[in-house]
């Protein structure tokens, strides 16, 4: 059995943005807005006398599942934070967003580069998958600049004017660069220069563009040719030009940060400070060194200082305000800011989001134009529409259970020790499969040089990859849902976004479940039996058993390569630190010795995840040293992210309490992981700590690592796993996020009922309800029709249903534990009421047992989560021959409770039906609408309930 871990697709990380913001789409109604705002209460004292006439402005950006939000604070308003804009992409829910923002020299515009957090799991997405937009600071109007730029701490790069530089890393390891120059005023890309080197920290100066390449300060010519102008003292992590023609930069040299200025052909030192305590920000009128500035020269034109006691995230244009913390919480943003004038600090939170929203269209192959209504044969249509991934979505017999975190931890611990032998009964989760045991079906691979995978390392990978989700992340623990499949429709762009108007099954990734098992999961592949493919898609335990083998295979690849063993420290796999390189390879691949001829004679692990790669800030602390780090994971390599999650377990919120999803490892003598420093994988003879600025100046052997590296005495200092549950113990009980509404609907609250209610469920085969609620047969038919016109008959060349299915989800919520949901879209035309590619019409057709024109209360079930649309218009057709429906509009929000609501009371004829669709004026495709059970209570001749009444 061989399994490949690709360049790690995937629906991963969602990075928890402090553990909460990566909410599922199928969530309950948003919490009430939090605090009224964050502003200085006594601004005369805090900000000084002139605050009311100041034009100083600060901008901050932070993401959550709704997008990347920009906020602005103006000194004239006592630095009260207000929403500026929300930036996102049109598509299905993409998890949490992350990004970077700068303000242009004129102070009129903010430029943001942003991407879903999942981009940090994919080297290609990190290098060239982010969006860039410009936002008018006065109005919040956002304009799209370009799609497909680099997610990096130095991107975007503003300068003294409104000219802004953006980068795109090119090549498998990011060894080349596209440098884009954009005009924030026109929102146009003025030029794109291909640079045959890795260029980082660019800056647009009045006399041309500068940056760092090969460890040198370079000037970029009109054609992308580089001219080296100076050699910095160390590895630069900040480079900023001034309007006066100077370029300031700060480098890491050992434990020092060294500030230098290049001007007039000379590079001079302007100051030093502790490595993590001297930062450089560009502002109005010049640059500003911030932090411990006691050793910074004074009197340098255009270079001022600002004392700060802790690292800051942003500084206002004129330096009057420092933003020390901006972190997402549950539907809010927490801010800590400090006034430079007084040193006074304020903490608070504001509601997340607000301001105009820019939803950028995703790239991808456009859908074919509607052609002539050629009536292709059905067989041809079916072949064209055949998904590449083996296990389908929206299939009632494929409803994986979203496990709770205790179950995942238990399963990982059992798996790494070959004890994941829980007996799955026949028809487990209504799959129709035979009984099995996970690690009998997927036996553990042997770890080279003995030992096992440390459980916390595996937990960290599952956290990073999928937030420990086996089912679609629309489902919270306790829900069943569609399987979690990476790029099922082949419509994901480089940064992991799904374009809901593109389907290209030839590009499907087919990574399934909590560990994103990819190889063998395409239709027709024979690595796994068809039954085992379903087990991997449905059962988190089976998936963990299979996924662990992928990681072991990477370890073995490193340790058994024909070029020699690639070993860290003592090479003992029991120590988490010793897996650093295997995790590196797990993300960005391993280049075997045997294939070195294809890579210029080089082999090992590549440059992308080398911690000394200048795409990461050289002064960064370890990941999760500050929990807020989770909101900007683009500052770290994949191995650093994994080691961070192993050291600091991923967390979630229970009310206001932050709980870890799994236990910490057993640390060695230092009480934490012993991580390599950024120079540990340098292979250049010149690469001693602090020198040179970049050990990979050319695409040569310095850009690769293989062999042996030592940085820790593991027998005493490294971390080993810590088991929470006994090996061989029983599967942990499910901890549900929401209760399941298993209660029978009796209709007894309706005193006028003349008989039991009829209930039309959302699966016609109610035996497929798999959350365990007792359930009888459905009293009618439920259908979903996708696209407009529905089906593929009208236009077989480009049937619209194909696109509507992308944003259709089943969920183990709602009455008795099954419902469907999608999002509400606006009509294709202003006066229309249909949407060709996103329309979904749900129809409940009861089998009415009473004579025609018997009256019924019609009652809709609203799920605890997964339905939010506040004007859901239910169409009631009392007569199948009639042409005029009765419409009842209700708010599906329920504040997290399952609820029944009346749609009205009507005389119904046989063939009557109720319909609900997801098209409404003003919709933006981001609010849930649920299709849950509908009940019909017969009331004889008595008119009873009215639309919108609570049951």
């Amino acid at each position: 059995m061989t399994m490949r871990k690709n360049s790690i697709g995937i629906l991963g990380i969602l990075a928890l943005l402090a553990g909460s913001a990566a909410a599922t789409s199928a969530q309950a109604a948003p919490a009430s807005p939090t605090a009224a705002g964050v502003a200085f209460a006594a601004p005369d004292n805090a900000l000084g006398d002139d605050w009311q006439t100041s034009s100083d402005t600060a901008v901050a950006g932070v993401g959550d599942t709704d997008g990347f939000h920009l906020y602005v604070a103006r000194e004239a308003a006592a630095f009260r934070w207000t929403p500026l804009a929300t930036l996102r992409a049109s598509g299905t829910d993409l998890g949490a967003w992350t990004g970077y923002v700068c303000t242009t020299g004129s102070g009129r515009y903010a430029v943001a580069v942003y991407a879903p957090v999942i981009a940090t799991n994919r080297p290609a997405a990190t290098m060239a998958g982010a969006f860039a937009s410009v936002v008018d600071l006065a109005t919040g109007t956002a304009r799209h600049l370009v799609t497909g730029v680099q997610l990096a701490y130095f991107n975007p790069a503003c300068g003294p004017s409104d000219r802004v530089l953006l980068t795109r890393a090119v090549g498998r390891e990011g060894e080349r660069t596209d440098l884009l120059a954009v005009d924030a005023v026109t929102a146009e890309v003025e030029s794109t220069r291909r640079i045959d080197r890795q260029l980082t920290t660019p800056t647009p100066a009045p006399d041309g563009d500068y940056g760092i390449a090969g460890g040198r300060l370079v000037k970029v010519g009109a054609t992308g040719r580089l001219t080296a102008v100076a050699t910095p003292a160390g590895q630069p992590f900040a480079v900023e030009a001034t309007s006066g023609g100077a370029v300031d930069l700060v480098s890491v040299r050992g434990e020092q940060a060294v500030a230098q200025r290049w001007q007039g052909g000379r590079l001079t030192r302007t100051g030093t400070g502790p490595r993590q305590r001297l930062q450089l920000f560009r502002g109005a009128g010049g640059n500003r060194l911030v932090g411990d500035v006691t050793k910074v020269r004074s009197g340098v034109p255009g270079l001022s200082t600002l004392r700060a006691e802790r690292p800051v995230r942003a500084v206002s244009a004129q330096g009057h305000l420092m933003v020390e913390r901006v972190a997402p919480t549950d539907k809010a943003v927490e801010l800590t800011t400090r006034a430079a004038h007084s040193g006074r600090e304020i903490n608070g939170s504001i509601s997340a989001g607000g301001g105009p929203t820019l939803s950028v269209p995703l790239p991808g192959r456009p859908a074919a134009k509607a052609g002539p209504a050629v009536r292709a044969g059905p067989a041809a249509r079916l072949a064209e529409d055949a998904p590449a991934c083996a296990v389908p979505r929206n299939n009632p017999s494929v409803q994986p259970l979203q496990p709770s975190y205790n179950m995942v931890e238990w399963a990982v611990e059992q798996a790494v020790h070959g004890q994941l032998l829980v007996q799955r009964p026949a028809n487990y989760l209504k799959t129709g499969l035979n009984a099995y045991q996970p690690q009998v079906r997927f036996p553990p691979h042997q770890v080279a040089y003995g030992g096992t995978v440390p459980s916390q390392l595996m937990m960290a990978i599952l956290s990073q990859e999928t937030n420990m989700a086996q089912a679609s992340w629309h489902g919270v623990p306790g829900d069943t849902a569609n399987p979690l499949v990476s790029d099922y429709y082949g419509n994901r762009d480089a940064n992991g976004n799904s374009n809901i108007e593109v389907i290209d099954y030839t590009k499907s990734d087919c990574g399934y479940g909590i560990g994103q098992v990819t190889t063998g999961m395409r239709a027709g592949e024979t690595v796994f039996t068809p039954e085992d493919k379903v087990r991997i898609a449905v059962d988190y335990a089976a998936n963990i058993a299979a996924a662990m083998n992928i990681l072991i295979d990477k370890w073995n690849q490193l340790n058994q390569d024909s070029g020699g063993r690639n070993k860290l420290n003592d090479g003992d796999p029991r120590y988490i630190e010793n897996w650093y390189a295997a995790v590196w390879a797990y993300n960005s691949g391993f280049y075997p010795y045997a294939e070195r001829a294809s890579h210029g004679g080089n082999w090992g692990v590549g440059w992308f995840n080398n911690p000394v790669n200048p795409r990461l800030p050289a002064n960064r602390p370890r990941f999760l040293a500050d929990p807020d780090d989770a909101s900007h994971p683009g500052d770290w390599t994949y191995p650093e992210l994994i080691m961070g999650w192993a050291e600091t377990p991923q967390w979630y919120w229970l009310g206001n309490e932050r709980l870890f999803k799994y236990s910490k490892p057993a640390f060695g003598s230092s009480g934490k992981l012993i991580l390599p420093n950024i120079y540990s994988f340098c292979t250049s003879a010149k690469c001693v700590e602090g020198l040179p600025a970049n050990p990979c100046p050319d695409r040569n052997e310095n850009c690769w690592w293989h062999g042996e590296t030592f940085w820790a005495i593991c027998s005493s200092a490294c971390a080993t796993e810590r088991l929470t549950y006994p090996l061989g113990s029983a599967e942990r009980p499910l901890q549900r996020s929401y209760g399941t509404d298993c209660g029978n609907f009796t209709g007894d609250r309706e005193p006028r009922k003349i008989g039991p209610p009829l209930i039309v469920y959302t699966l016609n085969e109610t035996g497929q309800y798999n959350l365990g609620c007792p359930i009888g047969p459905s009293d009618g038919k439920f259908t979903l029709r996708l696209g407009n016109p529905a089906g593929g008959y009208a236009n077989p060349v480009d049937p619209t249903w194909r696109f509507a299915q992308i944003d259709l989800h089943q969920l183990g919520a709602g009455h008795k534990g099954h419902m469907w949901f999608t999002h509400v879209y606006k009509p294709d035309y202003p006066d229309g009421d249909s949407n060709a590619k996103h329309q979904i019409v749900a129809t409940w057709s009861p089998d009415l047992p009473y004579p025609d024109d018997t009256r019924y209360d019609i009652v809709a079930h609203l799920p605890s989560h997964g339905g939010e649309w506040d004007t859901s218009r239910y169409y009631i057709w009392p007569d199948p021959k009639g042409v005029v429906p009765k419409i009842c509009s209700i708010d599906q929000s329920t504040n997290g409770a399952d609820r029944w609501k009346y749609l009205g009371n009507l005389p119904l004829k046989k063939g009557a039906r109720v319909q609900l669709k997801n098209v409404a004026a003003g919709a933006q495709g981001n609010i849930d609408i649920a299709f849950d059970a509908v009940a019909f209570i017969p009331t004889g001749t008595t008119d009873a309930q009215v639309c919108n009444a609570d049951y």
Binding site: Q27, A28, P425, R736, G767, N770, G772, L808, G812
Partner: protein, 168 residues
């Protein structure tokens, strides 16, 4: 992720789901039904087993009722019934079938029953159940299981535009 009120269930859903295997189609946990008199005790097929069969021959026409219809041609008021198509549903047989009144001596059309999978997906082949019409007459299609989205379409030969009922 967002979490509310985590509730630890005494029994896992998995365990409960296991207990329920195969139970759903047997004893209903819901309330008893009070229905009209069963209309079609003579029904000899149900759902999928009715596919392709003639309703009248299977005892499925007795309780069938119209659930959709469409006028294929407009005619002046007072004229004989216009050509029209209907969709019938038989609860007893859990099946549906189409009806077509062609109205014209020279009529030549294909009568099609189109079906979509109940929860989306590729359309099913459209022309296995219907017939070509010839002349002025009534036509019934064969049956399809009710558990799909269904409609009847009339397609004038050789190149006319479809006239279809609403989906049911």
């Amino acid at each position: 992720m967002r979490h509310r009120n985590l509730v630890t269930m005494a029994a896992s859903a998995i365990a409960v789901a296991t207990i329920m295997v195969g139970a759903a189609s047997a004893a209903a946990a819901g309330p008893d039904r009070v229905a009209e008199a069963p209309a079609a005790a003579l029904a000899s097929c149900s759902g999928e087993s009715c596919r392709g069969k003639v309703a009248a021959e299977q005892g499925c026409a007795a309780d069938a009722y119209q659930v959709a219809g469409v006028a294929v041609e407009d005619v002046p008021p007072g004229a004989p019934p216009a050509p029209h198509a209907l969709l019938y549903y038989s609860p007893a047989c859990d099946a549906a079938y189409g009806y077509y009144w062609s109205g014209n001596d020279g009529d030549q059309s294909n009568i099609l029953v189109q079906t979509l999978y109940p929860y989306g997906g590729a359309p099913l082949p459209e022309d296995e159940i219907g017939y070509p019409s010839r002349g002025r007459n009534t036509f019934y299609t064969k049956m399809v299981p009710w558990g799909f989205s269904i409609r009847v379409c009339i397609r004038p030969l050789p190149n006319g535009n479809d006239k279809c009922t609403e989906w049911r």
